[in-house]
């Protein structure tokens, strides 16, 4: 893979930390949600965060 530029590194590092947090916290909120419509919104949130972390940590 080509070397990454300063802005790419900055953005990717920020995305990684933010989304490991988002995936943990959103999964927890999902577990505790009371209504179905909120659950469905949170499921999408977890899915986005997990997919992002997965892509960033491929070795």
């Amino acid at each position: 893979m080509e070397d990454l530029t300063a802005s790419e590194i900055t953005n990717l590092i920020a995305s990684f930390s933010t989304n490991t947090m988002a995936s943990v916290v959103t999964s927890d909120l999902l577990k505790k949600a009371e209504s179905d419509d909120v659950r469905s919104m949170l499921e999408l949130g977890v899915q986005i965060a997990k997919a992002e972390v997965k892509v960033l940590s491929i070795s």
Partner: protein, 266 residues
Amino acid sequence: MNQAGRVLPVPFTEQDILLPNDKYYSDNFVILLKYKLGQDALNLYVTSLSTSTNPEVRAFYKKLSQDTAELVEKCIELMVKRGLHQPVIHIPKSDEVERAQTKKVLGKFIGEKRPLSAPEVLQIQNNFVSTEVLKEILRSFSKTETSEIREHFERGKDMCSKHLEMMQAKFEKEELPQMPTWESEVDTEGLPHFSDRLMMFKVSLMVGAIGARYGVTATATLRKDIGATFSKMMGEVVLYAEDSAALMIKNNMFDEPPLVKLNNNI
């Protein structure tokens, strides 16, 4: 990132959730929180997309922007369904566009001002919701047992309360509806729900986003008193953000960003 030979920061894990069986935010507050975080993330992803040159990185952020836009839309639908988007402020209709004839449109610091414009109402309302969500987050985080971090969160909460009053005051002068607050929607009793590192990280992200938002409002509004109010609030947020970073460094929670030179001794 690994393919490009870059080190990733230490991730957050389930260990950072301390009370996995307690509900601490109401569903309504969860919707508002995800809406605001989604809004901030969307801004970040679009910027990331437009500042990257690597095609793989751009494709990654393009997909993320699309997915996050969908999430934000879901949140908005839920907010409308539950009336969380209230109050809706109506702007009277006019038949034609009027050219400003005097500098009165720019307002003045002292004395009678022109009524708020539609963009100003939008900016103040959007900022109010963001700051209110951060205030409730700080309130719920103030349960931490580390006294220095608790004091920092409490100070942030007081700063947010003051900013909310300043924004509300602009609406009150125009006899516009009172903006809602959500004190009863978060649990502030008992033990902390998250690790200090997670809470500090979340707060520093949200504080950064709020500082940026205030800056946009200060430059995107015409009336001088609004620009001045938001510049002042932004200054306070910047100082608070700096103290957050200092506290994270002191508690060994701060990942240093990559520098343009290796082996820096400063």
